[in-house]
C-alpha cells in the first residue's frame, strides 16, 4: 500500500502498552518509511499532553490530505471508531482485543457496556478496513471471524530490553527483599485488578499453596483498579481466608516499583480468562521470572512453551505447579532460559521488521 502519512487514532491516549506501541509505530514510520503522522484521541491523559490531538481536529483544524492512511487501535467501544469509520481515507484496524462484556457485566455494568460497544464496532469497521492487524494469532482469528478480508499478525511494539534493564525503585526493592529474608516464596501477578483477570483465582491457588507447601509465601497483585467492587471483594476474600497480611494489592505502581516486584518474584502466576496478548508474561521472561499460566485466549501463543501452561486452574493444580517451579532449581532455570529465548521472537528489532513488512505489503 502507498502511504503518504500514517495517522493513528485511539479512544484514550495514555501511558501503557498501547500508548508506547503507538509512539514506537510513529517513530518507525518516520525512521524507516519516511512517513510522518499524528496521534489523535478522544481523551488524552495529562502526562501525554502535547503528543496527541483531539480526534475531531482531523479534517478540520488539521487538514486531511490525499495519501493519508488511518490506523485505529481497537480495545474498547468509542466514538473514535465511528469517526474513523465515517472517513474516506484507507483504514487499518490494529486489534488489541476487547474484553467480552460477560466477564464484566456482573461486576461493572458501565465497563461491560464499553466492551459490548467495542465488540459491536469491530465487525462494523470490517467493511471499511483495507487491513486488520492483530497482536496475536488469537486476535487475528477474531478479526477473520468479524469479517476482515485482509489480516496480518504483528506483535505490539515493545522494548523488552529497556524493560529488563529498568532500574528498580530502591525503597520498594529493599522492602520486598526484607520480607523475602524471612522465608517464603513470592508470587506475582501484574495487570489491572479486574474481573476478567481473575485475580481471585490466583488468591485461591495461593491459599492452597500456603496450605500445602509454604505457609510463609506472599502474593503481590500489582496493577491499578478497573473495578472498585472487585477490588473490595479481593480484599475481603483475603481477609476471610486469614491471609490478608500475605496478599498485597499494590494499586498502580511506577516503572521502578514494577521492576522491584519482578526482581523479587519467584514466579509469575497468570490465571486470566481473557488476554489479547499478555504483556506481563513477556515482562516476566525479560526479568528472568518463571511463568505459570492458565491456558486461555492468547496466553499459550504468547508463552509459546516458555512457561508452564495449565489446562486446569484448580487451586491445587496451580499450587502444585508453582511448587515444582519454586522447589526445582533445574526446572526454574530451564524456564528462565526458555523465556529468554522466547523473547527473541518479540524483540523490538523483529517486531519493527514485521510492522514494516505489514505496512509495505
Amino acid at each position: 500500500m502507498r502511504i503518504g502519512r500514517l495517522h493513528q487514532f485511539v479512544p484514550t491516549f495514555e501511558p501503557g502498552a498501547v500508548g508506547a506501541h503507538m509512539l514506537e509505530l510513529r517513530r518507525l514510520a518516520h525512521e524507516v518509511l519516511g512517513v510522518e503522522g499524528e496521534i489523535f484521541a478522544e481523551h488524552i491523559r495529562p502526562s501525554m499532553a502535547g503528543r496527541a490531538r483531539g480526534h475531531r481536529e482531523y479534517g478540520r483544524v488539521f487538514r486531511a490530505r490525499p495519501g493519508d492512511v488511518l490506523v485505529y487501535h481497537m480495545a474498547i467501544g468509542s466514538v473514535v471508531a465511528d469517526f474513523v469509520g465515517e472517513r474516506a481515507e484507507p483504514l487499518i484496524v490494529d486489534h488489541h482485543n476487547v474484553t467480552p462484556a460477560e466477564l464484566f457485566e456482573r461486576w461493572e455494568a458501565d465497563a461491560a457496556y464499553g466492551c459490548s460497544w467495542g465488540r459491536s464496532q469491530l465487525p462494523e469497521l470490517a467493511g471499511r478496513a483495507i487491513l486488520g492487524v492483530a497482536d496475536s494469532p488469537y486476535n487475528e482469528e477474531e478479526l477473520r471471524a468479524a469479517g476482515y478480508r485482509a489480516t496480518a499478525t504483528a506483535p505490539i511494539l515493545l522494548d523488552l530490553e529497556a524493560l529488563a534493564g529498568a532500574e528498580a525503585d530502591a525503597g520498594a526493592l529493599e522492602g520486598l527483599q526484607a520480607a523475602k529474608a524471612a522465608g517464603g516464596a513470592d508470587w506475582l501477578f501484574v495487570g489491572r485488578v479486574s474481573p476478567h483477570k481473575f485475580q481471585h483465582d490466583v488468591v485461591k491457588a495461593f491459599a492452597a499453596y500456603r496450605h500445602l507447601y509454604d505457609p510463609c509465601a506472599r502474593l503481590h497483585l500489582v496493577g491499578g483498579s478497573s473495578s472498585a467492587a472487585y477490588w473490595q471483594a479481593l480484599q475481603g476474600f483475603a481477609t476471610a481466608l486469614g491471609i490478608a497480611g500475605s496478599v498485597s494489592l499494590t494499586g498502580s505502581v511506577s516503572s521502578g516499583e514494577l521492576a522491584a516486584h519482578y526482581r523479587s518474584a519467584d514466579v509469575l502466576v497468570c490465571l486470566s480468562e481473557h488476554e489479547g496478548f499478555g504483556i506481563p508474561l513477556l515482562e516476566a521472561m525479560a526479568h528472568g521470572v518463571p511463568v505459570v499460566a492458565f491456558s486461555s485466549t492468547a496466553v499459550p501463543g504468547t508463552v509459546g512453551g516458555a512457561g508452564i501452561v495449565l489446562q486446569s486452574k484448580a487451586p491445587a493444580t496451580v499450587a502444585a505447579a508453582v511448587h515444582r517451579v519454586v522447589s526445582d532449581p533445574a526446572l526454574s532455570q530451564a524456564l528462565v532460559a526458555a523465556g529468554a529465548a522466547r523473547l527473541e521472537h518479540f524483540s523490538l528489532e523483529r517486531t519493527r521488521a514485521r510492522w514494516v513488512e505489514v505496512l509495505t505489503q
Binding site: R106, W107, P195, H200, V203, K204, A207, A208, H211, L212, A229, Q232, A233, L234, G236, F237, A240, L241, G304, G305, A306, I308, V309, L310, Q311, S312, A314, P315, A316, T317, A320, A321, H323, R324, L331, A334, L335, A337, A338, A341, R342
Partner: protein
C-alpha cells in the same frame, strides 16, 4: 526453545502430585469448594452462582443503605466540598434511604418465608434424602458390579485422573479397580468399615460430586443412586459429572431397565431407572463425546434388564 523441558511429562507429574495430596487427605475433597463459597460472600449478588441460600444471605446484607458516602479526595479542597454536600443533603438522604431499606428488608423477609415453605413442601414429599428413599434403597435389587467389573475396568483404564464409584455399597468394584492398578475410591451414604487399603467415603453421591473441584476426576462410575433418585437430581448429577471430569474423562452408568424394575422399591423410590438412551442424552455432548450402551445378558441368554452406559469425553 523449550527442548530441555518435557511439558507433557511435567504436567503429568503435577497431576500426580495433586492426586497424591488428595489421597493423603492433606487436600480435603471440599477444600476448593470452600474457597469458592468464601469468595462468593464478597462477590456482588448477581456475580455469585445459583446457590439460593448464599444469594438470599447476600441480598439481606445489602438491604441496609449506607448514606455516608466516602468524602476522601486527592484533589485539594474537594474533600471539604464533599463533606459540605454530605452534611447538607444528609437529612433527605436518610429519610429516603430508611424507606428503601425498610422495603428491601420486607421483600427479603418475604422471600425467606417463601423459601421455608418450599423447603417444608420438599421435605413432605418423597425427596432425594428422605425416609422413603432409605427404604427404597434397602429394597432395590442389587447391582451386579462383579459382572460389570471388566467393562468398567476397560472403560476407566488410563483415565486422566482419579476414578470415583458412587454409590459403591461395600466397595467390591472399587477393590477390583484398585487391584488392577486404577487410582479409585468409593462414595456411599452407608457408613461401613472399608477393607484395608480401600478408600470409601461416607457421603451422598451428588453431594460428594458437587464438592470436588471442576475437571479434577478421571472417571465417574454411577450405580444404584441412578435407579432411585428423582429425575431432577439425576439431570443435575449428569451436569455435575460433566463439569467434574477432566478432558478425556469417562462417565459410566450401571443401571436397570425401567421395565425390569418392580417391587417395593418401585413404589417407594422417588425416581425410576432411566432408559440407557436417556443417559446418553443427559451425559453426552452430541458430536463431541462417544457413547456406548452395553446390555447385561441373563443366565438364559436373554436380556437381564441391566445395562451399562459408557460416555467418553474428548481429551
Amino acid at each position: 526453545m523449550s527442548d530441555a523441558i518435557d511439558h507433557p511429562q511435567l504436567l503429568a507429574e503435577i497431576d500426580a502430585e495433586v492426586r497424591r495430596r488428595r489421597e493423603s487427605g492433606e487436600l480435603p475433597a471440599d477444600f476448593e469448594r470452600e474457597l469458592d463459597l468464601v469468595f462468593a460472600r464478597f462477590a456482588p449478588v448477581h456475580a455469585i452462582g445459583d446457590d439460593f441460600a448464599q444469594v438470599l444471605e447476600r441480598t439481606e446484607q445489602s438491604t441496609h443503605i449506607d448514606v455516608l458516602a466516602p468524602v476522601a479526595s486527592r484533589t485539594p479542597g474537594l474533600g471539604f466540598v464533599k463533606r459540605v454536600i454530605r452534611k447538607g443533603v444528609g437529612w433527605e438522604m436518610r429519610y429516603v434511604a430508611q424507606q428503601v431499606s425498610t422495603f428491601a428488608f420486607g421483600v427479603t423477609r418475604a422471600v425467606r418465608l417463601l423459601a421455608q415453605r418450599v423447603e417444608h413442601l420438599e421435605q413432605s414429599g418423597p425427596g432425594a434424602g428422605g425416609r422413603l428413599l432409605a427404604m427404597a434403597r434397602a429394597e432395590a435389587p442389587p447391582v451386579d458390579t462383579a459382572g460389570w467389573a471388566p467393562v468398567v475396568l476397560d472403560a476407566v483404564k488410563g483415565a486422566p485422573g482419579r476414578v470415583v464409584h458412587a454409590e459403591c455399597a461395600d466397595g467390591a468394584l472399587v477393590a477390583h479397580l484398585v487391584e488392577a492398578g486404577v487410582d479409585a475410591y468409593g462414595v456411599d451414604p452407608a457408613d461401613q468399615v472399608p477393607p484395608p487399603g480401600l478408600e470409601l467415603r461416607v457421603d451422598e453421591a451428588v453431594d460428594h460430586l458437587r464438592a470436588v473441584a471442576d475437571a479434577s476426576l478421571g472417571a465417574v462410575v454411577l450405580s444404584r443412586c441412578v435407579d432411585l433418585l428423582p429425575l431432577g437430581v439425576l439431570a443435575e448429577m449428569a451436569t455435575i459429572v460433566r463439569a467434574k471430569l477432566a478432558p478425556g474423562g469417562v462417565a459410566v452408568v450401571l443401571s436397570s431397565q425401567p421395565g425390569a424394575w418392580t417391587g417395593v422399591a418401585a413404589d417407594l423410590a422417588p425416581g425410576r431407572p432411566l432408559h440407557p438412551r436417556t443417559w446418553c442424552q443427559l451425559l453426552g455432548v452430541r458430536g463431541v463425546s462417544t457413547m456406548e450402551v452395553l446390555e447385561a445378558p441373563a443366565e438364559d441368554g436373554g436380556a437381564s434388564g441391566a445395562y451399562a452406559v459408557v460416555v467418553r469425553f474428548p481429551g
